[in-house]
Amino acid sequence: MKRLGARAGVLLLCGVIAAGPGSGEAQATGYTGSPSLVGPVARGELPLVDARLPENPAMVKLSAQGKLPGRHGGTLRLLMGRTKDVRLMVVYGYARLVGYDESYQIRPDILERIDVVDDKEFTLHLRRGHRWSDGRPFTSEDFRYYWEDTANNPDLSPFGAPNILMVNGKPPTVEIIDDVTVRYRWDAPNPFFLPKLAGTRPLFIYSPAHYLKQFHAKYADARMLAEHVEKAGVRNWAALHNRMDRPYKNNNPDLPSLQPWVNSTRGPSEHFVFVRNSFFHRVDENGLQLPYIDTVVMNIAAGKLIAAKTGAGESDLQARHLSFSDYTFLKKGERRSDNRVHLWQTTKGSHIALYPNMNAEDDAWRKLIRDVRFRRALSMAIDRHELNQVIYYGLATEGNNSVHERSPLYRAEYRKRWAHFDLRAANALLDDMGLTRRDRDGIRQLPDGRAMVVVVETAGEDTEQTDVLELIHDSWLDLGIKLFSKPMQREVFRNRVFAGKTLFAVWGGLENGVPTADMSPRELAPTNQQHLQWPKWGQYFQTKGKTGEAVDMPAPKELLALSNEWVRAPNQKAREAIWHRMLATHADQVYTLGLIAGVPQPVVVNRHLRNVPEKGVYNWEPGAHFGFYRPDTFWFDNAKPIDTQQARR
């Protein structure tokens, strides 16, 4: 490549560094690499920063986002609960073909440009000169390899290309136009494509072909490959290839990457070191190649100890394994460490929600649960204000399981409808249903004479849910319904819900509480077995009618129809209208009993770590936890620049 190996520039380069303290290597073009790379560059192990960046790097205008441009250096320490959590560096790194910006709009990131025609034709333009973390070019060949040799290889993907790439059961036409241009085309719109590419767990439609070919039967020398397979102790080459090609799991240090930091530790270990990707494609407005921070160190500790360790200052940026109940402890830790504790918003539709099972096996109960009056009465018999005060110091938002204020689709009525505490109205609703007979303790009786005793099942992972249920127990008793909570092991819990053995389940609310009209409203329709209020309908949808039960109620049927309509909706306005109809139905029909939303997430940040917002949103999808705020732009204001004089000698 053109500027590669320009050894003559090295001397000049070092001179410049020595002149400007705190700045790294600088070039006539104005790009600056990290001082930590001066040594390797001087030794000729790495090309100059200009040759490491694409011709047109992604320019991040930090000042425009209210952030401060920073400087290179430093080590960021993180704590994680399990070895598997190395994948979170792909989440935090958040380098995607396209990614969400701060207003939840999808923008090109790794891609230079993307041309979309009617959501049917996507032309992806790569950055010319972009390189993998091992310095090899990242080109359309990597896309071709994924599509032809991985996704459509019967050994590697016996079930064909991923579902998300199928529209009406048909795969896209993938054209490789030139070195830097790839086109995906479908006959019908695929509105899921871009959100999936931008996802927290993204779909990788490219893979490092130059590396993976050595494990592919089509390219590799048969004898070498057999040796590899033998050494790894796997069944066949496909299993080996799949094991090597895990960009999300991030457990193969040899796999080239496009993320800001690259794993350098082979597991199992308690201490993972991620080093900067010296070929990363983003630069800041001063021309400094991102990421600012040179190294990320991830220490593995028992999940329960992480709050204690964080409080003692052993992490520089921590939210995982911290919960709201740790807040006071962490706040105390501010005094003896360099940490600051921020409270970020969480955006699940509801922190905790009750799911009445519309597919319950028990006939009498199912009939009740399907009666909207019953669900409304239960919802109105919950004192959400009390919950908020008692358990969350009044810091959370009371109301239904619905979208948040930050979402453009928010309307107050969605959160408030049937969510006010009104025992009289609730009792009247139940009386109206004819549930007037009560036993001696004042518990109402079902039409078949059984007492109305509800067992609410929880996955029992923390005591918070049981505490909440204890409070609900008291107010439901005034309604004439006795509540018991029953914690159980998570798989058992799920299987019981799926089978309809559970009447009421407890789980978190809507995953995405901050949707825009362009995001799929599927979560509101019976499309997934995981929706604990209608598991069998969801299963029916997912298996295309092979198992489960067809939806047999008008309102959910309409939701399903609306969700399908959304896919075909011609423009944003139509999508928005569909969203509002679905949200309104949900609020009115009370399919889930949302309790409390926006329970703050404590985020512990080192005092010297800049550009981490004080008030942020902590969410998985969309959001990628910290990834949304681009940790490659975080920097330490006490980072010592590496002694560049040393490198000169």
Binding site: S157, F159, P162, P268, E270, A301, E491
Partner: protein, 332 residues
């Protein structure tokens, strides 16, 4: 005697086979398999996995085969030193366990040493000075050690170590040493961290040991031969060490059988609380996530150590105590 040894060794084989079958069945008893646990975890985070992908993974991990088939693959693999594949770590079991075994041994041996060094003199002193103030005081402390829940003590000590000595919380060394080869700094760091788990795991064992030694020794001290010895004019110390103490040692030796498996599984709960990089927590998570080959191999290894440990302690007892010896004439 040789006959006896051979017989004992031969009996071990069917015992272990039965144990292996039991282990496999018990691990399979809970609903689902590793993949269901894995999927549940992903989904609780809002990630989703397609049905096809699950079926594919199941096939790649060999979970689609029938249970007997899986069992025999595992069993025959073990004979050849292949303990199977850990799903959770995505590595062969032997690679996963390797590092941790060493640290487990370090912790366990330090604990055993601590227990014996502390319990032995105290036990002897308490017995010989029965109902003295020192006996009462030490007994009181011993009972405290026995009664305090380990994990609570662990948390308290962690806190103290962190606040007053600045030791990093949990683990067996400061984080920066984890990936490094052994050095003086690392050694010191390990020592700094080691005392907490040793103290925590050791307390209840020490207390128990003190009580047992004291009771046994008291029994012996009352006996005729001690009186005779004393009357004969044997020096106090010599008398104590030569006769009653030897008799009182039996429980120590019988304990060896339990010590061996404890080296591996010892104090799993404390290790979890303290986040020690030992095998205990690993076994616990393996069992919970139904990482069956990892869990199975652990349990297998434990049973092997138990069986071998019992054998060894029987042998040692026979050497130590003539009353226990099994020789030609004693067989019925």
């Amino acid at each position: 005697m040789l006959n006896y040894l051979v017989r004992r060794v031969l009996v071990m084989i069917p015992t272990l086979l039965v144990i292996s079958a039991l282990i496999f069945v018990i691990i399979q008893l809970p609903e689902g398999d590793y993949l269901t646990t894995y999927i549940a975890e992903l989904e609780s985070q809002g990630e989703s996995v397609s049905k096809e992908k699950i079926a594919f993974l199941r096939q790649q991990y060999g979970l689609d085969k029938s249970l007997p088939e899986q069992y025999f693959t595992w069993l025959f693999g073990m004979f050849q030193g292949d303990f199977g594949y850990s799903f959770e770590y995505d590595l062969p079991v032997s690679d996963v366990v390797g590092d941790r075994l060493l640290l487990s041994f370090v912790v366990s041996f330090a604990t055993i040493l601590f227990t014996w060094v502390v319990a032995f003199p105290i036990g002897v002193y308490s017995a010989t000075h029965q109902y003295s103030w020192a006996d009462h005081g030490l007994t009181f402390i011993g009972f405290l050690g026995l009664a305090t829940p380990n994990f609570l003590l662990a948390l308290v000590l962690l806190y103290i170590a962190n606040i007053y000595f600045g030791t990093s919380i949990g683990g067996l060394m400061d984080p920066q040493y984890v990936a490094q080869p052994m050095s003086f700094g690392k050694f010191v760091s390990v020592l700094e961290h080691l005392w907490v788990p040793v103290l925590v795991i050791g307390t209840s064992g020490t207390a128990g040991m003190i009580r047992r030694l004291r009771a046994n020794l008291l029994d012996e001290l009352q006996k005729q031969y001690v009186v005779t010895g004393r009357a004969k004019g044997l020096p106090r110390m010599r008398l104590l060490v030569k006769y009653p103490l030897r008799m009182a040692l039996n429980p120590f030796v019988a304990d060896i059988g339990n010590l061996l498996p404890q080296v591996i599984s010892g104090a799993a709960i404390v290790s979890v609380v303290l986040s020690l990089p030992t095998t205990g927590p690993m076994m616990l998570t393996a069992l919970r996530s139904q990482d069956m080959y990892l869990a199975g191999s652990f349990l297998m290894f434990l049973s092997m150590l138990t069986v071998v440990g019992m054998f060894l302690s029987d042998l040692a007892l026979a050497v130590l105590d003539p009353r226990i010896r099994l020789q030609g004439g004693t067989r019925r």
